[in-house]
């Protein structure tokens, strides 16, 4: 299987200014991440607040230029031309975001929103052809044409997210970054939108990065999982293997804490019940960043920072305790 997207050693630091005389402090939102998105797969990107998953998502989709590293789309560096992605590649990678109230321009009707996207792909379409295209897009996300003349505030959260998906599809992308797309929706609506998302992924043959903190959804739809903690990748591998046998202590902690994952995981290792506080992102501890919460941390963990290494076929972990075995 070939890789559609390749992220190589990405780093993005945000500067925090503290007071008049304060020195320059940085939040290491993404701190050396390398991963790939394979053709046709759903890669789940998991983490909690401060993990950097949303920033990574924005870097992958081309909205945030990394300080270091590259993002390659089928071998081409998407950031090669100046600050934004080159025109030719621009429509290949699209995104849908979390907040349904913020995804759509409140001043535009659905017709205008979708027309804009449709005409971007094909500026020479006539009014009639534009409408046909819009209706096709609405149907593929399970909506009816009555929605065309509505304004966003007249739609429910689930409908708005579906329009956001439809708009992303309008430019015929190959890669879709879905950033917490159902986290703000009710449970029953969540299911509807997830089904639409998966239908669309199959029908349009998309490769998808699914950013979430909900392990249940990860179990349901993903092929591989990438777990992030404080800007770094701590575990990466096929979903079934990771759920059956999680290696990194943080992954174990996530699975133990997620009630939704209960059905999927093997037994719960209660040593890894959630404890401790995540460290300050500005002043992280020396060595492994998970040390403040890790039940199996040893003395070596506070000295050396672990690297992401391959432990078996297609599985990578970054933990000194695990890699020693």
């Amino acid at each position: 299987m070939s890789s559609v997207l390749n992220a190589i050693n990405l780093r993005k630091y945000f500067r925090i200014t503290t007071g008049l005389l304060g020195g320059r402090k940085y939040v290491r939102a993404v701190d050396g991440v390398t991963l790939d998105l394979r053709e046709g797969e759903v890669l789940a990107l998991v983490g909690e607040s401060g993990s950097g998953k949303s920033t990574l998502g924005r870097i992958l989709v081309g909205l945030q230029r990394p300080d270091e590293g590259e993002v390659l789309y089928r071998g081409i560096n998407i950031y090669s031309s100046g600050n934004s992605v080159s025109k030719k590649l621009r429509h290949r990678i699209q995104a849908v975001f979390q907040n349904p109230d913020s995804s759509l321009n409140p001043r535009m009707q659905i017709y205008d929103i979708l027309k804009e996207a449709v005409l971007t792909r094909n500026p020479s379409l006539s009014d009639r052809e534009v409408i046909e295209e819009i209706i096709k897009l609405l149907r593929s996300v399970g909506l009816v044409e009555d929605h065309i003349f509505k304004y966003p505030h007249e739609l429910s959260g689930g409908e708005k997210q579906r329009i956001a998906i439809a708009r992303a599809l309008a430019v015929a992308p190959e890669v879709l970054i879905a950033d917490e797309v159902v986290s703000a929706l009710d449970i029953s609506v969540r299911a509807q939108v997830m089904n639409v998302l998966m239908d669309v992924k199959e029908k349009y043959k998309l490769s998808m990065v699914f950013i979430t903190h909900d392990m249940g959804l990860v179990w349901s739809i993903s092929d591989r999982v990438a777990v992030m903690y404080l800007g770094k990748l701590v575990e990466l591998g096929p979903t079934e293997e990771i759920f059956k046998e999680p290696l990194h202590p943080y992954t174990k902690m996530l699975l133990v804490s997620s009630p939704a994952a209960a059905s999927a995981t093997a037994s719960k290792d209660l040593r890894f019940k959630a404890r401790g506080e995540p460290p300050s992102p500005i002043n992280p501890p020396k060595g492994c960043k998970f040390i403040t919460r890790c039940p199996i941390a040893g003395s070596e963990c506070s000295i050396t920072e672990p690297e992401l290494m391959e432990i078996s076929r297609d599985r990578m972990v970054s933990c000194l305790k695990v890699l020693k075995i």
């Binding site: 909690e48 607040s49 429910s156 689930g158 009710d186 449970i187 029953s188 609506v189 969540r190 299911a191 509807q192 997830m194 089904n195 998966m198 903190h213 909900d214 392990m215 249940g216 959804l217 179990w219 349901s220 739809i221 079934e240 902690m253 996530l254 133990v256 804490s257 997620s258 009630p259 939704a260 209960a262 059905s263 999927a264 019940k273 959630a274 404890r275 506080e277 995540p278």
Partner: protein, 321 residues
């Protein structure tokens, strides 16, 4: 368990809005027993938040209580004056809200704000109670409590802020704690810790806890009994362990099957959407989306029936009328 701390009897709370009357809580009855943790689950538009406000005596216009009672230790708190309510709130009923950022004042230290609870109920200036606050902080597992009492909210993490709110709620050792979405704004690992903390508090004190949330899966980890609300109605109420094994109401069944995430299978979804509370569907409010609905469902509202300790409101289960 056994003795009832709280009893909600046929409560109806409506909102008078220009676009119509919103029947937010429409004839809901339930009880909370001593030392139990009861979860109230529902999606948006279920009425659970309004129910939370009613139980804590925090309803404000345009909300109005149309009928029903809320008995706390036998006294109807809906009929109490603001003064009398104030004596109960914080002392006998503790409240934990959702977003610690909104409920903590950024210009006062966390310790001071908790001490204010003591001041409100015992008089004397808040500063005198700092020692007690440190003890409370230790109880809610805030690390380094002697220092943290002087910390401002922005210096604390989300999990810690929520623990501060919890300490405010349990300060006066209340009989009942009402937690309205206490962990929805938190990460899942922190959420898990807070849930453990609440379970510990229940063990060590005699408090009953009412936990209101949209996260049904969370409730099954921690609640003794669970109530499911839909469109202003109580559709099912029973022991958590029973409910999860054998849900009776179609809505409960649907929710539970959505949460049973299966690998690479389409998620069971419920067709349609949550109805408007201004113009709810006639008969059973769930009938337009129910796969088992038959003719009676669209005409007559099902009454809650007791089946071996389980309360269900569905024509298919037990009798009706």
């Amino acid at each position: 368990m056994g003795e009832k701390v709280l009893e909600v009897i046929s409560l109806r709370v409506y909102y008078d809005l220009p676009q119509g009357t919103v029947r937010a809580v429409d004839d809901v009855s339930l009880d909370v027993r001593r030392r139990e943790v009861i979860g109230i689950a529902g999606e948006s538009g279920s009425g659970k938040s309004t129910l939370a406000l009613a139980i804590t005596g925090l309803l404000r216009p345009p909300a109005k209580v149309v009928s029903g009672k809320v008995l706390f230790n036998g006294v109807d708190i809906l009929r109490l004056s603001e003064d009398e309510l104030r004596r109960i709130r914080g002392r006998k009923i503790g409240v934990i809200f959702q977003d610690p950022n909104t409920y903590l004042n950024p210009i006062y230290t966390s310790g001071f704000q908790v001490a204010e609870v003591f001041e409100a109920h015992r008089g004397i200036h808040a500063k005198k109670y700092l020692n007690e606050v440190v003890k409370l902080f230790r109880l809610v597992k805030i690390a380094d409590p002697e220092r943290r009492v002087y910390a401002y909210p922005h210096q604390l993490s989300g999990g810690m802020k929520q623990r501060v709110l919890i300490s405010m709620a349990i300060a006066e050792r209340p009989d009942l704690i009402v937690a309205d979405e206490p962990t929805s704004a938190l990460d899942v690992t922190i959420q898990s810790e807070i849930m453990d903390l609440l379970a510990e508090i229940r063990e060590e004190t005699n408090t009953s806890i009412v936990m209101i949330t949209h996260d049904l899966a969370l409730l099954f980890e921690v609640a003794d009994r669970v109530a499911i609300m839909y469109a202003g109605k109580l559709v099912e109420l029973g022991r958590a362990s029973d409910l999860i094994k054998d849900p009776l109401h179609p809505y409960t069944k649907a929710l539970l099957s959505i949460l049973r995430y299966e690998r690479k299978k389409k998620l069971t979804s419920i067709p349609g959407s949550i109805p408007s509370l201004i113009n709810p569907p006639p008969g059973c409010r769930f009938h337009p989306r129910c796969p088992y609905a038959f003719s009676k469902c669209s005409k007559i509202e099902p009454k809650a029936v007791d089946i071996e300790g389980r309360l269900v409101a569905c024509h298919l289960v037990g009798g009706s009328e």
